[in-house]
Amino acid sequence: MLPASLVIAVSFAYLLALFAIAWWADHRAHMGRSVIGNAWVYALSMAVYCSAWTYFGSVGRAAGSGVWFLPIYLGPMLAMILAWVVVRKMIRIARAYRITSIADFIASRYGKSPSLAGLVTLITVVGIVPYMALQLKGIASAYAVMTSPLGAVTAHAGPWWTDSTLYFALALAGFTIVFGARHLDSTERHEGMVAAIAFESLVKLLAFVAVGLFVTYGLFNGLGDLFNRVRDHDGISRLLQFGQGQAFAYSQWAGLTLLAMLSVVFLPRQFQVMVVENVHESHLRRAVWVFPLYLLLINLFVLPIAVGGLLHFGAGGMNPEMFVLSLPLAQGWTMLALAAFVGGLSAATGMVIVEAIAVSTMICNDLVMPLLLRSSRYGARSATDLTGLLLGIRRLAIVGILLLGYLYYHLAGEAYALVSIGLISFAAVAQFAPALLGGMYWKGGTRRGAMAGLLAGFLCWAYTLMLPSLAKSGWLDDGFLRDGVLGVTWLRPEALLGLGALDNLTHSLFWSLLLNIGAYVGVSLWRQPTAAEASQALLFVDVERRTDATQPVFWQGRAQVPALRALAARFLGAERAARLFDAYAREQGRPSAAALVADARLVQFVETQLAGAIGSASARVMVASTVEEEALDLQDVMRILDEASQLRAYSHALEEKSQSLERATAELRQANEQLKSLDRLKDDFMSSVTHELRTPLTSIRAMAELIRDEPDMPAEQRQQFLGIVVGEAERLSRLVNQVLDMAKIEAGHAEWHTTTVDMRALLEQAAGSMAELMRERGIGLTLELPARVTALQADADRITQVVLNLLSNAAKYAPRDHGRVWLSLSERPDGVEVRVRDNGPGIPAEQRERVFEKFRQVSGDDHYRPGGTGLGLPISRQIVERYGGRLWLDPEPGGACFSFFLPFAATEAAETPT
């Protein structure tokens, strides 16, 4: 037992610390260094799912029925598997249309209907009250356990104003206001609150795990020892068995899982942290698995604590829901107990704060606001600044919700276990699933359908679950539970139409969801959707397919910029409105807000901004009363949609066209470059040819002039000059022939007579025809030929031309009198290789490739031109390459070594008709 003053002081100190964290986070956000822009913080803030229910209730549930506390956490596991698909879409929709609550989401989807928003809010408030009561009950019981002698917890007695729970509720309301309703934000995002919630999630996890470790390893010698001892107690060991001595209730198991799966998305606080407070949708990627991991960790020690408590205190000795506190207290570990109490406080306050903020936003925007705006004092024609009023309503709503929770706790809380209270709330919010999920994926859902579905589901829930819970608490005569209303037995709330095979929760869930879905689908299909419904359906279902630029705007009419601006100022404050308009003008490329045109897009912009502050339904009403609208019908919606998609198609086509133009330009540029370089080559070639032709012509002319001018030249000298003239003329004709040959080959006009060629015979023949010349110059020719090689397909004359060219080159460069030339042939797997080597001066490395250029004659000495045209090698290379072969110069020290390779079978590739 601890002194009450200490427990209260620690509680307040903890709440103050929370507030400090929130203040710090808000401060950081203002400085542009957000602390919540982080996937881990986002995942931790989702863990607000674990409330006092998890912290205290799960242990109680486990002590009563074993693993049956688990479906409540396996459901979220299932939901999170699909969250990356479903919740991401919700986040995108909420962001695009500034949706700030679940009521707003549903109302906005079905044509921004105020009545639908109001209905969803009502269901939420009624449904969430028991859940609030659960938190208060958890804290109240925990406080009692901490401050009373162990095992002597007595029900509270005394007048209501002495009940500490009431003051606790009021204190929590105060803190919630500080967290969430200090100022107005049109996106309804609360950085400070999220940071505090994430911190609370850490605290409750650590505290619970600490108690778990204490029980497992302090009280017992580990899990093995704990479960070994359990086996001796028949009553406790049965808890750990599959069916616990009965048939396993599969339907209840599946029902609870489904319920939790829906709740983890549709509970107001979950929607708030998951969708509204999401900073960046990529954070969801990590959160979808970190959040289930968190749930697993916090549930790991539930069973050990439960069975440990049962072993320690004996069944019935102590309230199992408070084992987390009573076990450390019983062992005298008061500090641990205090830490555990703070953990429980974390769990409860976190839930209460977020839930109250979310629900107060809904009450303000979707319930009170539409009513206020209808009145003459605050309506469309009035000019009152409403920002102060908005805040006042929210604060009042927060206090109201907590007082309602306290009332329910006071009236019905004592009779029920924590978990059973929570499940009633879960079943209520599950009613949102058909309208919300249907609205996200089915364009056919209408406002009437959603209305009918929600009403049917809610009424069925109230009749089959809420009323019985009140009756069982003794506030109603419970006779109708047994006999049915007015004695009609098939109307019994917990066995409608006599369906008695299900437990009361699964029974209620089954009937309410069945009626809900049936009414939603049935009534939706009854009539065609109106223009407003159809247009919103398109915007919601196809949210992922549109970008801002091609987003259709479903509005037509006339508006004035000053009127719109005044409207925005009324709800957002003059300063904020001015900032928004300026930013919008910049985005539209206008010099200032004064230059804006009041087109449909501006009207939509203002309406979206207002929706963030007062809900989409109220925003619609306000905008409609400020501007002159023309009603849209279904044809208009289709027309606008067509225009938008045409616009999209046009921009798409335009983009494609410009891309293909770019491609064409690039191709043309490339072709042009090629032409230019060919032109340059041609010029080079022409100048080389003229140069080469001029040299022999000049010497012929000089000799001829000498002979003409000196008629009495000695016959001997004349003979010598004439010899030079003949030689130069021969060289000239050879040159002309080769130029023609080259041109023919390059143009593809050469004639090729492909036959079967035996390379060995061909080389022998070529060597024979060169032998005389070589001998004259005193050069030795060595043949290195294999006995036989495979024949190949080629033009024998052309190949001979190549070999002769190489041989004559070798003969030219080999030194006179002691020169040597080697001609060798070898067979490769895919062709033959011919090498011609000499012992001449060789070719410097940097000139190796240049010898294959036209008119290039290489030697160490520039003035030494051993007669030749400079076309032999280029022509030879063309011939060899025509047959798919290669001609190259081997780097060989001492002399030049030319080789060429001819394949057996690659001729077809290059063989073009000539």
Partner: protein
């Protein structure tokens, strides 16, 4: 394209999870046995749960960065 694949994987994983955690596969653990010193049924539930978290993390963390969906 990659996004479509991720969606299909998630739906498949969801189907597997529903099957593993419901009738009749749940009855696989209907034995009064001990696994590593722990009672079989609760231990199996936690093991399945951990397995699902692992698979989910594997699927989503490998998915490509979403298109710029920033505020």
């Amino acid at each position: 394209m990659q996004d479509v694949l991720v969606t299909q994987r998630l739906v498949a994983l969801f189907g597997a999870a529903v099957a593993l955690l419901n009738f009749p596969l749940l009855a696989l653990w209907d034995h009064d046995a001990v696994w590593l010193g722990l009672p079989l049924f609760p231990a199996a539930l936690f093991a399945i749960w951990a397995l699902l978290i692992g698979l989910l993390a594997w699927v989503v963390e490998r998915s490509p960065d979403p298109a710029q969906g920033t505020r």
